[in-house]
């Protein structure tokens, strides 16, 4: 299978697996588009899992995290 073309993504990283899984649950519940991926090496990986989303979802993601008092380390723009 051919390598997938790269596209811009906003990638949220976490300090713990608990935080990553809690974020996934909240994002699915609130309709934040994206999915969990192995944390890209470009990010100083703290947790092995990261939430990858279209860049336009960044604000939605951050507001959902704030509303539900969930933790994330950073959101980084990457080509993945």
């Amino acid at each position: 299978m051919a390598r997938r073309p790269k596209r811009p993504r906003a990638v949220a990283s976490f300090s713990s697996t608990f935080d990553a899984m809690a974020a996934e649950g909240a994002c699915k519940d609130a309709g934040v588009e994206g999915r969990l991926i192995p944390t890209p090496v470009a990010i100083s990986a703290e947790c092995g899992m990261a939430w990858s989303m279209p860049p336009e979802e960044r604000g939605h993601f951050e507001s959902v995290m704030a509303e539900r008092a969930l933790r994330f380390a950073a959101v980084t723009d990457l080509e993945l």
Binding site: M21, A22, I37, E46, G48
Partner: protein, 371 residues
Amino acid sequence: MIAALESFGSGSRGYGDGELSAARTVLAARQSIARLLGASDPSRVVFSANVTEALNLALWGVLKPGDHVVATAWDHNSVLRPLYRLERLGLVTLDLVPADERGRLDYDALERLVTPETRLVVASQVSNLTGNVADVARIAQVAHGNGALLLLDAAQSAGAMPVDMGALGVDLLAFTGHKALLGPTGTGGLIVAPGVDVEPVLTGGTGVHSYEPGQPAEYPERLEAGTLNHHGIAGLGAGVDWILEQGVDRLHAHDLSLVRRFVAGCRQVDGCVVYGDFPDDLGLLDGASFDHGPVVSINLDGWESSELADALGQDYDIAVRAGAHCAPRMHEALGTRETGAVRFSFGPFTTEEDIDAALAALAELAAPEEA
């Protein structure tokens, strides 16, 4: 749990469906346990192999050289033996709150023994021998009034009765999965209240902060080195969800009605001794005036406890536990060190008919044999 056995990968160590399903299930179990036990932050629900491991994590992770600890005669060997070892190594000094011949804790002694030098107070919420319930709020008040932390052994209470660690002022709560939480053996955990830190006893892989030489500061990974028992935790989470659906108040009321029925029946059996603190009027055993956990221990005149347990098992298909119950101090208080006792345990699936069958068996076994 069967679905978990057939589908789970290693949660937090991979990204496929199986691994993510495992991680999601573990998260859900933490959230359910936090909800059931009144923990405000589910990330501080740390899983372990059993309550003994959880208690060891707390004791070895909190206590520092020179600390003073107060535990009680109710405590199980899972508390006593780590403390004896810490004492033997010269790391801590230990005092034990005594119990009387009915198993009642001496709260005056507690107030005398806990001082500003005390780092930790350890208490069992429910005696695993008598089923009596400790006044945890009072113990927490004494501990906190002296600047000490409270570690609660909730092995017998979690899932069997309402437990709210936040309201009770519990700093560390250890639970087992395989009793009233209805999970499989090999599951348990420690809940660490916000603001309390426990030094890791086990160190190793966590799936996070891999380039740091030490354990992460974040909970639960801080205390969860190594791969979790995801399949067991799936079973534990299912058990806890069932309890939440049923309502722990309702389950506790069911247990109390069985305890009342059983103790009332035992009082009618010649030579049957019921251990622990019960009101004369068993109607007071309603959870408010007088509370009780889902275990009752007895002896029957003329029977060794092991012999009685064997007869109940072999001849009546009634499963009980005989012997010392890993509760040496409590047996000494009750005067049953030499005889042991026979413990009956009740749960949501125990019926009044089961109680009556047990009472009928005891009555039969108590009757003098015909010449």
